[in-house]
């Protein structure tokens, strides 16, 4: 088996007193698409923020191409970061720049290319996400889904080795959402990218995922292929796949106590 491109070892993190990630161990291999699932608020975005080095963990190590990003020097981090793309859950477009400038920014800063070539590359990326012709728009003039796609174009602008997408298809209509799934497949096969996707769209999961990782209570509840997850008998995995709600709390007294507690 090939060496993993990302190795996470015993990752713990907390916000204040709330322990969010409780010992994550995860290997991500080159050229695979890993989908991270989990309930809202379980720490998926937090996990991605740790992998790209934005947050530092309470404990644990994260190796990217062999370098521990939690302890890397600024220069080492820069080298790693230039080969990664991140689509934030909120998009995080620069609101003071046009869509085109947003996508062109990493190229302008990190490549010696001249402006006309960068412009062509920028238009190619926008075309890829179906936003050709919007380069002179400001982010505030775009719809939520368009912002997401513009942000995806920006994440792709440096042709990264590893792409992180935090809910790429949330807020998109089904046709565009399928388009994004196909784009991800294309990036994987044509450009041989390693892709980590956080999503809640089960249809999308079964289109793009090589492996699926299910987070629950700060731990990895399930890790395996699509076939594995369909065969799984773990109650939480089954509940998640069958989209069953939590059991109703039947104890009225407990419920009352909870409401009046201070």
């Amino acid at each position: 088996m090939t060496e993993p491109i990302i190795k996470i070892r015993d990752l713990h993190t907390s916000y204040g007193k709330r322990h969010i990630l409780k010992g994550i161990n995860l290997d991500i291999y080159p050229y695979e698409t890993l989908v991270i699932l989990g309930r809202s608020g379980c720490g998926k975005s937090t996990l991605l923020r740790h992998i790209i080095g934005l947050n530092s963990p309470d404990k644990g190590e994260i190796f990217i191409k062999g370098v521990d990003i939690t302890k890397a020097s600024e220069r080492q981090r820069d080298v790693i970061l230039r080969r990664m793309g991140m689509l934030f859950q909120s998009g995080a477009l620069f609101n003071s720049m046009t869509v085109g400038e947003n996508v062109a920014l990493p190229l302008m800063e990190h490549t010696p290319q001249n402006k006309s070539i960068i412009k062509i590359m920028m238009r190619m990326k926008l075309n890829l996400v179906g936003l050709s012709g919007f380069e002179d728009f400001m982010p505030s003039q775009l719809s939520g889904g368009m912002k997401k796609r513009a942000a995806l174009a920006r994440a792709l602008s440096m042709d990264p080795d590893i792409l992180f997408c935090d809910e790429p298809s949330a807020g998109l209509d089904p046709i565009v959402a399928v388009g994004i799934d196909h784009l991800i497949l294309k990036l994987k096969t044509a450009l041989r990218m390693t892709i980590v996707v956080v999503t809640h769209e089960m249809a999308s999961v079964f289109t793009i995922a090589d492996r699926i990782c299910l987070l629950h209570d700060g731990e990895i509840k399930f890790l395996g292929t699509q076939d594995n997850i369909k065969e799984s008998t773990d109650p939480f995995v089954v509940q998640f796949l069958e989209r069953r709600p939590d059991e109703e709390k039947l104890d009225a007294q407990n419920y009352l106590d909870e409401l009046v507690a201070d």
Partner: protein, 267 residues
């Protein structure tokens, strides 16, 4: 007793927090200066484009307000001075008072306070908004250092523009004194002009400019620090913006005191 304790406890804690903040601002300033003056020699680009944009925003756009306020202050000092000097029939010395106070003290101070209100707060608000909308995080994941990218252009622009505005403020303020002298005090133009020229020494002017250069650094860094420290959403941005103005004016005045003590005892 316990009241007393909590009161002193609280103010002690606030004072301690204040020094922690000042230390952190100093740290950020150190980093920003490295990014401004040393990093360019290590192959990092200085962003002249956005520096120029900031110069226009901080400098050119505050020319009208700095002029109007300085003119008024010049008039005010001239009137107050004349009120005292008339008793001795020495109204010609209004020229000395107006020009020296403006160049040494009020020109740099007025400019710094106007720029704090207009641009220091804007720096805090801009960077703070970028912080809450994850734009700062996005910059970092693109391997772009937020200090090099956001703070340096603003700091450079401030360091150039604030001394320029101070010169403007000095001259317009003196012109204010002129107007009062000629119209109300019936002094001769040439006499007043000569008196002003005699009164002013180069050091009056230069100490003022040295001060204003440091005020520029304080305003830019306090704004940036408050911006990076925004917590929460829009409310946090508002809070940080207000704090940036208060802290910045306080530090400017405190620095002014230190410089004046230094210049007073040595020059």
């Amino acid at each position: 007793m316990s009241n007393l304790k909590t009161t002193f406890g609280r103010s002690g804690r606030n004072l301690a927090f204040f020094f922690v903040h000042v230390a952190r601002i100093a740290h950020l300033t150190g980093q920003s200066l490295v990014w401004t003056f040393i990093a360019p020699f290590r192959g990092k680009k200085l962003r002249w484009g956005s520096t120029f944009v900031q110069m226009v925003r901080i400098g050119v756009e505050s020319v009208p307000i700095v002029s109007v306020i300085s003119f008024c202050v010049g008039l005010i000092i001239a009137m107050q001075a004349a009120y005292q000097l008339e008793q001795f029939g020495a109204t010609i010395y209004v020229a000395d008072l107006v020009s020296v106070t403006l160049c040494r003290e009020l020109g740099p101070l007025i400019t710094a306070i106007i720029v704090t209100g207009r641009s220091g707060s804007a720096i805090a608000a801009e960077i703070g908004t970028m912080k809450v909308s994850e734009e700062i995080d996005a910059l970092e994941t693109m391997a772009l250092n937020p200090i090099g990218f956001l703070v340096v252009p603003r700091l450079l622009a401030m360091m150039v523009v604030v001394p320029c505005l101070t010169v403007l403020s000095d001259f317009v303020g003196i012109a204010g004194g002129f107007v009062l002298a000629i119209t109300n005090l019936k002094l001769a133009f040439v006499a007043y002009f000569n008196q002003t020229a005699d009164a002013l020494a180069a050091k009056d002017f230069i100490t003022g400019l040295i001060k204003s250069f440091f005020f520029a650094i304080i305003i830019a860094q306090v704004g940036a620090y408050q911006g990076f420290n925004v917590r929460g959403g829009a409310e946090g941005v508002g809070k940080s913006t207000t704090t940036s103005v208060v802290v910045s004016i306080f530090l400017v005045i405190f620095a002014d005191l230190l410089f004046t003590m230094l210049f007073f005892s040595t020059l």
